[in-house]
């Protein structure tokens, strides 16, 4: 397969902070419709990798191609508009706004200054909000102030805000951190449902959860890729066991 068929092709990506290489000549390819999970010990550079892909951190060298378009020099908002969605580690929602407004603001129309001034919350927007709210299980809480939601609900709301944009590549940073067992299951179902027509990259520590959702697993260590493949394959990889899973 040639590189151009991948949704995301990261090649020789490097970023250094005052000499320290947080990501070191990394290559990563994600297929259309694939759900990729990235695991690795703390400080392996997982979050930094997502930051680089979505533009929060500038790369020192290398290339990031999304749908065969070079992203490395683009500002964040342009990467988002081309179809990359990013969820942060801690729930990042607008606490002072209602759930409805949180979703409405994420609707991909009226993104320019004057577009936002002229934006009207018409039926199309309301329908989309309703649809997404049903998907994330918050249809009954639309008028609630988002700050009042439970931790799990906040995580879902942020995923919902990304779904409003209908991104082709969705990146989630530890989506189930701090969730109860029940919430984890609901989230796993949610992720499986929403990955139907898009690619996803998920960072996660919980191996049971990873096994439940992953198509393919990438193990990172010290800014490099240690192993890649199916869950079974990486779980039995001696290198992975050594640095991450433990004996």
């Amino acid at each position: 397969m040639s590189n151009t068929d991948f949704v995301l092709a990261v090649e020789d990506l490097t970023v250094s902070f005052d000499g320290f290489k947080a990501i070191d000549a990394l290559n990563l390819y994600v297929n259309q419709g694939e759900l990729r999970v990235i695991i690795g010990p703390n400080g392996a550079g997982k979050t930094t990798l997502l930051d680089l892909i979505c533009g929060r951190t500038a790369a020192s060298a290398g290339s990031i191609k999304f749908k065969n378009h070079e992203m490395t020099r683009l500002p964040e908002y342009k990467r988002v508009r081309s179809g990359i969605g990013r969820k942060f580690q801690t729930p990042s929602i607008y606490e002072n706004l209602s759930v409805f407004q949180n979703l409405e603001v994420s609707f991909p129309r009226g993104r320019g200054v004057f577009g936002a001034l002229a934006f009207k919350c018409d039926q199309e927007v309301k329908d989309q909000v309703q649809k997404v709210a049903l998907e994330i299980g918050l249809a009954d809480s639309l008028d609630l102030e988002a700050g009042l939601l439970s931790h799990g609900q906040k995580q879902w709301l942020e995923i919902g805000m990304l779904l409003m944009q209908d991104p082709e590549l969705l990146m989630l940073d530890e989506p189930i951190a701090g969730m109860s067992a029940r919430e984890r299951e609901v989230t796993a179902d949610l992720l499986k449902r929403i990955c139907k027509n898009r690619s996803m990259i998920v960072i996660e520590h919980d191996m049971a959860f990873v096994a439940q959702i992953a198509d393919k697993v990438t193990v990172m260590h010290q800014g490099k890729i240690l192993a890649e493949g199916s869950m079974d394959k990486v779980q039995n990889d001696p290198k992975v066991i050594d640095v991450y899973l433990g004996h």
């Binding site: 902070f17 005052d18 320290f20 947080a22 930094t48 929060r56 951190t57």
Partner: protein, 304 residues
């Protein structure tokens, strides 16, 4: 014009630049600690300098009227007193205001502006609206002329020496002392510093007070150059902030470098145009550079 005359003018011009550098650095140092290290916008910084200046004036008046023998030597004691008076006031203001506002930097700005207005009015009411100058000891007057046609003013040299001492002291204190370590730890990671047993609240208060104290010294030094009035401090405040921001807020060496750069730019351009246009040109250059490079001259790259 002969070569030696040109050389003399060049040297005096260079000295003027150097002494402006000393002035700017002295102004910026206290702010570099308060704003650069703590991130507190202290709009009352100029008024702390004025306090230092008034301290000198107080000492000079007292020694002139009651202890005439003291007139030649009061200056040194007065500088120390200026530090401690400004220090004490800084301590009080941190306790009363600043500590409640660490999470709201823009509000600190407004509150300290209020403090500066209040202090200005205090000066006006209790000291008088007129500008005052202390009687300087003889050894600070006049100039030193190593040879014909070259005059180096002694007060300028004094300010330079004082700047050197204070800068050295601050650098040593910040990088070698216990306090410095605490400050740097608090700046780097407040929560962590707290949890390893650093009393960050006390560190903050001490840091703010030291910054104010240094402003007091700066004000004291400026009495050798000009007179002091209730609103003198407000003339310095923008310059002081620009010196610190231009240097890169968290870097003391940056402050030194930027004070030097700004002083040279100002004094060289003053050679070619009027004082006010030179000021405009200098400020404009700084602002434009800051727009292009907001982190200032010296900044470290950190992993966010």
């Amino acid at each position: 014009m002969s070569v030696s005359e040109m050389l003399n003018i060049g040297m005096m011009q260079g000295f003027a630049g150097l002494s402006l550098f000393a002035v700017l650095l002295l102004m910026g140092l206290g702010l570099a600690i308060i704003f650069g290290q703590m991130g507190v916008i202290n709009m009352a910084h100029g008024e702390f300098m004025t306090i230092g200046a008034y301290t000198i004036f107080l000492f000079s008046t007292v020694s002139e009227n009651y202890f005439p023998k003291f007139v030649q030597s009061y200056f040194i004691f007065a500088i120390v007193a200026a530090f401690f008076i400004a220090f004490a006031l800084g301590w009080f203001i941190e306790w009363a205001l600043i500590r409640h506002l660490y999470k709201r930097p823009l509000d600190t700005l407004l509150a300290t502006w209020g403090v500066s207005l209040g202090m200005q009015q205090c000066f006006r009411t209790f000291i008088g609206p007129k500008e005052v100058s202390p009687t300087l000891p003889d050894w600070l007057m006049g100039s030193w002329s190593p040879h014909e046609g070259l005059d180096i003013p002694i007060n300028g040299m004094f300010v330079m020496v004082l700047t050197l001492v204070v800068t050295g002291g601050v650098l040593i204190a910040l990088y070698k002392s216990r306090w410095g370590l605490r400050v740097r730890a608090t700046v780097a990671n407040r929560t962590m510093a707290n949890s390893i047993g650093i009393n960050t609240k006390k560190t903050d208060r001490l840091t703010y007070a030291i910054g104010c104290g240094i402003a007091g010294i700066a004000g004291a030094a400026f009495t050798t150059i000009g007179s002091t009035g209730p609103t003198s401090g407000s003339l310095y405040i923008v310059d002081a902030f620009l010196v610190v921001t231009f240097g890169g807020a968290a870097s003391l060496l940056g402050t030194v470098a930027s004070a030097f750069g700004i002083a040279q730019m100002q004094s060289i351009s003053e050679f070619f145009m009027t004082g006010s246009m030179a000021k405009v040109l200098t400020l404009l250059t700084i602002v434009i550079i800051l727009m292009m490079r907001p982190q200032g001259l010296f900044a470290s790259k950190i992993r966010r």
